[in-house]
Chain length 311, copies 2
DNA sequence: GGCCCGCATGTAAACGTTTACATACGGTTC
DNA sequence: GAACCGTATGTAAACGTTTACATGCGGGCC
């Protein structure tokens, strides 16, 4: 491994001069600069990022903690984060699959000294686990976490509003019997979407019918099953709002299987507006969530925390 | 920032002992170990990864270089890489959007000292750029790169075989007039898929018809346009093989628009088997590519290069 | 009792940088 | 020609760890 010392020796200068050439700081005579550069490329010298950030205590890297990498939602978020990060010359270090608290803690510790700050997107991390794992205070931004806590910067989807809007849309199309395929009740996103659904019904003075509030777990299968249950009801709904697109797609399959015409007999709406939504047949109406933008916003917030004045 | 020194001072031991406690190497009396641990948690001490890897010259991180983060292909690959990496206690550092050579070089340099090796997935990086940017030799694995070069480990999709298989499948269903919607000719994946198509025709002693080999560029739109052209031919093909699923979906749109029945009048096959393929109507037949597995294989190959004997 | 051994711990040098401070030197200014 | 200044460079101490080597100590063996 060729280091700054090797370059210095070959170029007959001190390490300080080489450092100045590569860090771009401090005065160096033009001729010296060129000589150092030439020697460096000849030797294939590349500054060692780790060593550099050890002394500058700046890594130009942001950490991203995810529960999982599966599905379009996460990949879109990452794309947004990456976009905003590279715009400011930052890199990404990724860590996924934090199923339990200890895994989360491990990931958090592993980041120490490797990142300037972290974006956390673990829906069911409790405040306790979070607080006790911020080693010293490098900045943190919570991305769509269940934890709606003033102590941390956070970026969230406006679930309630989105759900309310789309259900109102169904109402305006004349639907009065509107069902919801909800998600796991402990999931905040789901909970909020359910609240939005109820709010929209209240707005329209439609009574809630608990039979039309079926549970799901955000998977296609659960949407399929939920729809089957709804179809068996005597008072069959004329419209269904699925709390995410995967379940909506599952529901569509169930409807197709049952030979029910969409949207003539039963209308279906989803949430997330994932790209697939445009390709199912018939196209799915869905609440659009600017997923990548969510990532961008979180990143910008984090970068802001690094250098509040410069931006 | 609390360092190993602070812990040592408070626990009345030397830094060496604290280090031994946390790195798990070397003998420490049980009582001492506990005392150090307690002080450390009280002080919220977390070892500094950067400093650690500076001296051990081991980062437990692998770098991933991508051209882009957009689309299911890349997100699936990353998922596979992450899966295999975390299995061995490695982290990921991500760098995307290397549109030109200088960006690629920059990313490559930024990785120096931060990763133990890299996985490169830039379809159009030339050997030259690659070679001259391996600072010193940390291991490299090429993932589905155009560069089929013995100097580097690489993992690739078996394009030719996949294409040949699916076209043969069409042949076995009685099709004799089979068109291909190809991709950009300079793209290796596309080129190989085209070769597979021709091989299958040769296998079946069907003559090639250059009018049935239409160009595309891997986008939905290009598939749509290509299909339109094919539909206008006097000798209309009875089956179409699109070199990827996006183009196949575009082709399906064109067929629907033209009122052509699929698959009765024209059969369509794709390549990649992206999840959307199952949701279009009618479902698309496609060559399945185990994308995540591709990432896993690349990662395992890289990890192998780190410690050839231990695995 | 002298010797050796093994365990627990400490000391200090590394790792590859950056940077505050010191130094050297040529050119102004009085 | 002394005093000063600015520019280019060198010296060496940091950054937070790990680890080779040294030290001290208690015990078993002859």
């Amino acid at each position: 491994m060729v280091t700054i010392r090797d370059v210095a020796r070959e170029a007959h200068v001190s390490v300080a001069t080489v450092s100045r050439v590569f860090s771009g700081a401090g005065p160096v005579r033009e001729e010296t600069r060129r000589r150092v550069r030439d020697i460096a490329t000849a030797l294939r010298y590349v500054p060692h990022g780790g060593a550099r950030s050890l002394i500058t205590s700046k890594t130009s890297t942001i950490g991203v903690l995810l529960p999982d990498l599966y599905g379009e939602f996460f990949s879109e978020v990452i794309r947004g984060i990456d976009l905003a990060a590279r715009r400011s010359g930052y890199h990404l270090i990724l860590s996924s699959s934090h199923n339990d608290r200890s895994e989360f803690e491990g990931a958090m510790r592993a980041m120490r000294g490797r990142v300037d700050g972290v974006i956390i997107m673990s829906p069911d991390i409790d405040a306790q686990a979070l607080m006790s794992n911020l080693p010293d205070s490098h900045p943190v931004v919570l991305l769509n976490c269940s934890l709606r806590c003033a102590a941390f910067d956070s970026v969230n989807i406006d679930n309630t509003r989105g759900a309310r809007a789309i259900v109102s849309h169904l109402v305006s199309h004349g639907h009065k019997r509107i069902a919801i395929i909800a998600g796991a009740p402990r999931n905040v996103d789901c909970h909020e979407r359910q609240l939005g659904y109820r709010a929209a019904l209240r707005d329209a003075s439609i009574d809630r019918n608990s039979r039309w509030e079926t549970p799901g777990n955000f998977t296609e299968d659960s949407g399929f099953e939920a729809m089957r249950v709804l179809l068996k009801l005597r008072a069959r709904p004329t419209a269904v709002f699925a709390a995410n697109d995967s379940m909506a797609i599952g529901a569509l399959s169930a409807l197709r299987e049952a030979g029910v015409k969409v949207p003539e007999e039963v209308a279906v709406a989803g949430f997330d507006d994932i790209p697939i939504a445009r390709h199912v047949n018939p196209p799915l109406t869905s609440v659009h969530v600017p997923i990548a933008e969510l990532g961008e916003r979180a990143t910008d917030k984090l970068l802001d925390a690094f250098a509040p004045n410069t931006r």
